[in-house]
Symmetry: C2
Subunit: 329 residues, 2 copies
């Protein structure tokens, strides 16, 4: 057993939950991983169950009484905190892991931000299934743009890319034109065949019915088709990627003044890989904010651990602590 102060960080996402127990020296004592647990989509009980599973793994070799602080990052944090029942479920899971220290709950955007920089002031842009941009001041979300969900916003997100790809395909079919390479990929994904019926309207009807039978947010599953088609210079896909980048930068500009030199952190599945969209957003951001460091979001659990640790009295240099706790991306 190790001695010295330990902190715990958790990142609860839509597809996985990660936990980390780490000393203030940066020694990683344990990690845990469990299933997706976004409380907005799956409910607080499911989220708390995944939290418990990931925590148990991370604390296998750690005396829980040594854990002095904890933080949890998750989408919809505000709604969870506003709901006493949801909060109680999280409290129970925390205590069931043997933890007696307090813990904080942060939005996923703040945790993504902190995974890319130690600066208390800056901006974060996240694009995955949804999309949100936020100004960060004193490590709190100050102004926020978008994050309005697929029905009203998430412009430039994975949902948006998939939705637009289907709309472009429908417009091409209506006009009696060729569906194009991206269109054929979308057709195959949704109907099992790249063929257009003799009456194109039959294909249109089949597409509309297939999409409307499923939860709308599943349109985000088509985003990888758009990203990969753009990689082969497919013109419709390339256009959508450029448009998405423009929308994401426009949301960011709504909360970040021109020329701002504070860090800009890019997070979410669409912006952390080596994709054309990430490259396009990076290039546009470089033009708008030439003096700003632009960072990719990294390890959310480590960032949450850092957010938990930095308020401890023995922490005098949060920037140095960030360098020890959060792996550079």
């Amino acid at each position: 057993m190790v001695t010295g102060t330990v902190v715990v960080g958790l990142d609860i996402g839509g597809t996985s939950t990660r936990a980390l127990a780490v000393t203030l020296d940066g020694e990683r004592l344990g990690t845990g991983r469990s299933g997706g647990g976004n409380p907005t989509s799956h409910g607080a009980n499911r989220a708390a169950g995944e939290l418990r599973a990931a925590l148990r793994q991370a604390l296998t070799d750690v005396d829980p009484s040594r854990v002095r602080a904890g933080a949890i990052g998750l989408a919809g944090a505000g709604r969870l905190l506003a709901d006493p029942a949801g909060r109680a479920v999280f409290d129970d899971a925390w205590r069931a892991a043997g933890l007696r220290c307090p813990y904080a709950v942060h939005g996923d955007a703040l945790v993504a931000y902190a995974s890319g920089t130690h600066s208390p002031t800056g901006t974060v842009l996240v694009a995955g299934t949804g999309a949100i941009a936020a100004q960060v001041r004193e490590l709190r979300l100050a102004r926020v743009a978008d994050g309005h969900g697929w029905l009203l916003g998430d412009v430039g997100s994975g949902f948006w890319l998939g939705h637009q790809a289907v709309r472009r395909l429908l417009a091409a079919l209506d006009a009696g034109g060729d569906p194009g390479d991206l269109g054929r990929r979308v057709l195959t994904e949704l109907t099992g065949s790249a063929e257009v019926a003799a009456r194109p309207r039959d294909t249109v009807d089949a597409l509309v019915q297939t999409v409307t039978r499923r939860p709308p947010v599943e349109l985000a599953r088509l985003a990888p088709l758009v990203v990969s088609a753009a990689g082969t210079a497919e013109p419709v896909a390339a256009g959508l990627i450029a448009e998405a980048a423009g929308h994401l930068i426009s949301s960011t500009s709504r909360v970040r003044p021109p020329g701002d030199a504070s860090p800009l952190v890019l997070g979410g599945g669409l912006l952390t890989g080596q994709t054309l969209l990430a490259a396009a957003v990076h290039a546009e951001a470089r033009q708008c904010w030439p003096d700003a460091p632009i960072r990719a979001a990294g390890d959310g659990a480590a960032a949450a651990a850092w957010l938990a640790a930095r308020d401890l009295p023995e922490v005098t240099d949060p920037a140095a602590l960030h360098a020890r706790l959060v792996p550079a991306t």
Copy 2:
């Protein structure tokens, strides 16, 4: 009791169902009106129930054995015809009214078209809750543009106007700006107050939650706010109306060549009133198709009756019959 050939027409819409029994001379023997019965949204049983109620009223003073032909216009006609169970429910309702003649089922777009012109060839553009444009050949829908539903299309429709109005409001709130006159009307409609919270994000969250708790298609209920605000030159509303008109003309252009001189019929709640949107669409259509007669859709039940009657052997001049059966708008 009147003698001579009688035909029956029905127009089953989302908000009301209308029936008409009329002689080939144009003598209106009976009309009926009942509740909305769109089978796509309400199911075939509900639609057939409204059909029966409207038919019973229209046939009060008519011997049903004198009815020689009938036609029913409704949204989602294709889906109804493809479903033997739905078709059987309609057959039962037809026979329950004492009718022994055959009847045809037409899409609402074709009936809207026939309510504005007797020409077998032309184009119809309908904008209400949804939006669709179609080329008509030999009184059948040939090519169709949009009509893809709120999730994937209906661009320029009532849904689109309401949806855009909320999105513009959210963008204004994100940017810390004034919501504007239209924004305040939308806020009041959705939250009961035109006030923006001290933290505008709280108002954003309240709006998003209010909208996402309801069926998305209810966003169409905000369309009248946009239309009326545009009437007072509110700039956001005026911009949305211009954009909607552009989208509707663009959908129409997808199925109608430039310079086409065949009739263009404008239908649906947004295009048949004296609204700014109707005026904008009319003006743009006049530019694209300067030689085309542009007509407003009229009495759908009468148009359905005409569609039923025109194939009867005693009808030698369908255009003259149209003039007798379908009131000019």
